[in-house]
């Protein structure tokens, strides 16, 4: 097994570069056949694998600052693949893939108990409250590589796993075992006009994501880069999505601190 090192696909999102334009969301919806509703303004019942949050520093005018925070699935590793959502699924409809680090979701296996949604603190997992529908004619532009999901099941961001499968198959046909960094990229990464999203193998020191955050293998991949942070680091979910920000209040918004910890900043 030594010759093929397990991969750990991860993402780095530079919040200093993110403009909140929403292109990542649109690219994701188009790539992954996310359904539409006439009124999709209640974000708690609408399906969107990628969601851009709008954060403010809470200071009064004119010292108010904003920051947009795109949130795909964190693909939590937890401890040894014990991610919050995977272990709770009663029907084995979701799995942590040790060879890629991606949390899968089997739509035809899910029977909609929503325990995984209760387990996920990032609201990544979303339920199909309605039958999936698309605007007229848009059904013709659905992506054939991604299955559509039926009413009553949970779905979530897959790091565009179908792209990985396609790229791997292509490489294998060409007699290669390993993928180049740019052969497998998620739709949101490629679409971001600001170049704020970087995607790659966190286990590969040659990949940009590894160089940007310098994950610490002794602390579950905690970033060594002081500008980098992960959402809710303290919960031990061990996500594979990292954020970069030069602003302290943004980094601090990534986690919860009790008052006594007031002035210190982690990492």
């Amino acid at each position: 097994m030594k010759h093929e090192k397990a991969k750990k696909f991860g993402m780095v999102i530079d919040l200093d570069k993110c403009t909140g334009c929403g292109t990542c969301m649109v690219a994701c919806m188009a790539e992954n056949n996310v359904p539409f509703r006439e009124d999709d303004t209640d974000k708690l019942i609408s399906v969107a694998w990628m969601r851009v949050y709008r954060l403010t520093n809470g200071k009064p005018f004119p010292h108010t600052e904003e920051c947009f925070l795109p949130r795909p699935c964190m693909q939590c590793e937890g401890h040894d693949g014990h991610s919050p959502c995977v272990s709770v699924c009663p029907a084995t409809a979701t799995d942590y893939d040790m060879s890629t680090g991606i949390v899968s979701q089997i739509y035809t296996r899910c029977f909609g108990c929503r325990y995984c949604m209760a387990a996920c603190p990032y609201h990544v997992r979303q339920f199909n409250w309605w039958d999936p529908l698309w605007p007229e004619k848009m059904t013709e532009s659905l992506n054939p590589d991604v299955s559509v999901r039926m009413r009553g099941v949970v779905e979530k961001c897959s790091f565009c796993i179908h792209r990985y499968q396609t790229a791997t198959q292509k490489a294998n046909l060409e007699g290669r075992r390993e993928l180049e960094e740019d052969e497998y990229q998620t739709a949101c990464t490629q679409a971001c006009p600001a170049g704020a999203i970087t995607f790659g193998d966190l286990n590969n020191p040659g990949h940009a994501v590894h160089q940007m955050v310098k994950p610490d293998p002794n602390h579950g991949g905690r970033p060594k880069n002081p500008k980098a942070f992960r959402l809710l680091e303290r919960l031990g979910t061990n996500p594979k999505v990292y954020y970069l920000s030069s602003r302290k209040w943004v980094r601090r918004a990534g986690d919860n601190y009790i008052r006594q910890e007031g002035s210190q900043n982690h990492s």
Partner: protein, 211 residues
């Protein structure tokens, strides 16, 4: 470089040219990437313009071509419309006559559109003053018209100002866009700039009350 240009050039390459002409400074540039002239001192701003104000002026006092500056106030009676409504562009909305596609409407933030109502940004101080609560419906009225909106209490907007996103309130297009929110255009009016005759004033006086 080749041909006649190459022959006319006195150095072997452009780099050699730079090395020779810049002398010591070139070495510093190669090493540090920049070179700093320590002898340089900035001129005094006061001496920069030889005008009456010692500042940049579009027309000197000698010519006297421009009328005195008079601020143009937004249309509307301040005592009846205590606030000012201004439009802003959202990255996720097409703001012209071309409508946003369903993708954008779905990606739109919940702080801009909720149900069929557009949210207007209101400073917490303003909201407190007029008894407006975050997320609640309110009636926005200007001398030009009325609209039902929802309130988004937001620190980033100046007190006394209401901001509304451009690109909503369409009556055309599909069910994903039509009849959602309100349009700034339908609520605004223009004032003529007395000097140029051009449309002026960014914003219109407005009132925001509980619906």
């Amino acid at each position: 470089m080749g041909g006649a240009v190459g022959n006319a050039f006195a150095w072997d390459s452009y780099e050699a040219c730079l090395g020779q002409t810049l002398g010591d400074r070139w070495d510093v540039l190669v090493e540090q990437g920049f070179w700093e002239n320590t002898d340089f001192s900035q001129g005094r701003w006061a001496d920069a313009f030889e005008t009456d104000s010692s500042k940049f002026e579009f027309a000197g006092s000698q010519i006297n071509a421009l009328p005195a500056y008079n601020p143009v106030s937004p249309p509307g009676d301040e005592s009846f419309y205590p606030l000012v409504l201004v439009p802003y562009d959202s990255m996720r909305l097409a703001s012209g006559y071309i409508g946003s596609p369903p993708f954008l409407i779905k990606a739109l933030e919940a702080t801009i559109l909720k149900g069929n109502d557009v949210l207007v940004e209101v400073n917490p101080a303003t909201a407190a003053k007029y008894g407006l609560k975050d997320g609640r419906q309110a009636t926005l009225s200007t001398p030009r018209g009325k609209a039902v909106v929802k309130v988004h209490v937001f620190d980033g907007i100046m007190p006394g100002v209401i901001a509304i996103a451009r690109g909503l309130g369409h009556t055309a297009y599909d069910k994903f866009l039509a009849h959602k929110g309100a349009s700034y255009n339908a609520l605004s009016a223009v004032v003529e700039d007395p000097a140029t005759g051009l449309d002026a004033a960014w914003g219109i006086r407005a009132k925001l009350g509980k619906a």
